[in-house]
């Protein structure tokens, strides 16, 4: 277990004990947190599980694969540090991670 904090657009923070090996998205939805929609259930198709991660934490995550980048582009996500949370599995190195969530997951 590692601690991950999910921060809503209005600043409300939710800290959970995240299960290793499950994605950042899965940990959010299985803990019924608001802010991540994950319409496609983690299939890297919908772009509604977007999070924003700052540089130091980004470096501890797997690089986005081509299909993740394609979706971020497809939904016109231009913000720095944007990732699809369904594509990042939680590891020990992410203990203390904080991620920010957009105001709306769809336009």
């Amino acid at each position: 277990m590692v601690k991950i904090t999910y921060i809503e657009h209005d600043g409300t923070a939710h800290t959970i004990d995240a299960a290793l090996g499950r994605s950042i998205m899965e940990n959010a939805v299985k803990n019924a947190l608001p802010g991540i929609l994950a319409e496609c259930g983690g299939s890297c198709i919908c772009g509604t599980c977007r999070i924003y991660v700052d540089g130091t934490w980004l470096a501890r995550m797997n690089e986005p694969a081509a299909n993740e980048l394609a979706i971020l582009d497809f939904v016109e996500e231009g913000q720095a540090g944007a990732r699809l949370s369904c594509q990042i599995k939680v590891t020990e190195a992410m203990d203390g991670l904080a991620v920010r969530m957009p105001e709306r997951q769809y336009a």
């Binding site: 019924a32 259930g41 299939s43 198709i45 394609a70």
Partner: protein, 439 residues
């Protein structure tokens, strides 16, 4: 503008019986529109035990989301089966092994929509490669041409039945294109999938006749395609499909890929057709809205979302508790059937203000669960949305006005539109329109 459609288009229905007298799964006196029944259930709680069955019915949004997102506790074994007796007697505190041992009991237990992790996860991964932004863009180019070709077939007649003449062939041929079915075989697929079938999902007469299932025939075609492409690769979608690998890098059996491909044909057909007809019914009834959408096409996507919310073609879905679990405030034993009432979930007043009102500009229309949620959410959702948009836009391009055909459905204010009774499917399966073609 907000308009309530509850009374405008439904047939005059008999008074609903008392809740405890109704068996939702067999009662033919229930109206085709079962929303009033669901509201009576909601009054008892967001998750409530049905009076005549061992089923927990969920009408609450948050409660439904919790079930759908927790596939480790709720199996999809019975997702398309409904409340019929299981092919085994649940025993013990975890029925996972029993579930997996009984997949052979009927075809319905061997569709990807009824699988559980880990088998489900690797099969779904194969589908991801088909629904990429590039594939959808290419497929959409095909959709525009297809819509024109199909409209060409009836535009000179001034009136037509839109489900059989447009929506159904459209949905079928879109999938043939997505999967790269050779041109020479596409009309055969169209015929195979337009044949009328008995029962249908959620028939009040019980589970449907296995003979009527077109899946095995379609699977046969795909096994041949895949074996051919594996032996003789080409630069085409079927070859990509034939060589798609599981997440662990292994190559699936041809039968498994074929089964998946065949499933796409049945998954995206009936539901798409019903939402398309529901959409045209709304626009036929509301000429002002129709003209507004014609004048500003950018309003169409959200109009479609609101249509999806209120006219969900799949009104119920099922799950099976694998272990002792909570559904809302109800504790359920392993082996309990949970019925998610999507059309009621989409009307939860805690999520949607003024939930029965049709508001084409509703900001959170897309919060609906018409495509379900969690690992089994409809992977074809982007396709369905594109199909509805393209069909509508092309109809707008080719006509100046569309009306409900009064000779078939009666005049405004006393329409007759048939909603085939089903405990799972909602929506008209036919709709007659009259239109003025643009020259």
């Amino acid at each position: 503008m907000s308009v309530t459609y509850e009374n405008a288009t439904r047939v005059l229905e008999p008074e609903m019986k008392e809740l405890d007298e109704i068996d939702f799964f067999t009662d033919t006196t229930l109206p085709g529109n079962t929303n009033p029944y669901f509201e009576k259930l909601r009054a008892r709680g967001p998750a409530t035990r049905l009076p005549k069955r061992e089923v927990i019915a969920v009408t609450g949004y948050e409660e439904g989301l919790a079930v759908l997102r927790n596939e480790e506790r709720f199996s999809s074994f019975n997702a398309a089966y409904g409340p019929h007796p299981l092919p085994f007697t649940p025993e013990g505190e975890d029925i996972t092994d029993q579930i997996e041992a009984n997949r052979g009991a009927a075809a319905t237990f061997r569709m990807i929509s009824t699988f559980d992790p880990p088998n489900h996860t690797r099969l779904r991964f194969l589908l991801q490669g088909l629904i990429t932004p590039n594939r959808i863009r290419d497929n959409e180019k095909f959709m525009w041409r297809l819509a024109d070709d199909l409209i060409d077939e009836f535009i000179g007649e001034g009136a037509c039945e839109i489900a059989f003449r447009l929506a159904q062939p459209f949905a079928t041929l879109v999938i043939t294109d997505l999967l790269g079915v050779p041109d020479e075989d596409r009309q055969a697929f169209r015929k195979l999938l337009s044949a009328p079938r008995s029962g249908g999902l959620g028939s009040l007469d019980g589970p449907s006749d296995p003979e009527d299932n077109p899946l095995p025939k379609i699977e046969g075609h795909f096994v041949r395609y895949i074996e051919d492409r594996r032996a003789n690769p080409r630069k085409d979608v079927l070859t990509d499909l034939a060589f798609s690998k599981y997440p662990d890098g292994s190559l699936p059996d041809a039968e498994d890929v074929a089964s998946l491909s065949a499933f796409l044909f049945v998954a995206g057909q009936d539901a798409t057709v019903r939402v398309a007809t529901a959409m045209m019914l709304i626009l036929g009834e509301d000429q002002e809205l129709q003209q507004r959408l014609r004048a500003d096409r950018s309003l169409i996507p959200n109009f479609i979302e609101e249509t999806l919310r209120l006219e969900s073609a799949v009104k119920t879905g099922f799950r099976l508790a694998k272990v002792r679990a909570e559904v809302g405030d109800e504790e359920v034993a392993p082996g309990t059937t949970v019925m998610l009432c999507f059309s009621a979930i989409n009307r939860d007043p805690k999520r949607f203000a003024n939930p029965d009102a049709f508001e084409p500009e509703r900001k959170n229309a897309r919060d609906h669960m018409t495509f379900s949620r969690g690992v089994h959410s409809c992977i074809g959702a982007p396709l369905a949305r594109a199909e509805l948009r393209v069909m509508l836009e092309r109809l707008f391009d080719r006509t100046s006005e569309i009306h409900i055909d009064e000779t078939q459905h009666g005049p405004a204010g006393s329409r007759r539109v048939h909603y085939p009774p089903s405990y799972q499917m909602h929506g008209p399966t036919e709709l007659h329109l009259s239109f003025t073609a643009k020259s």
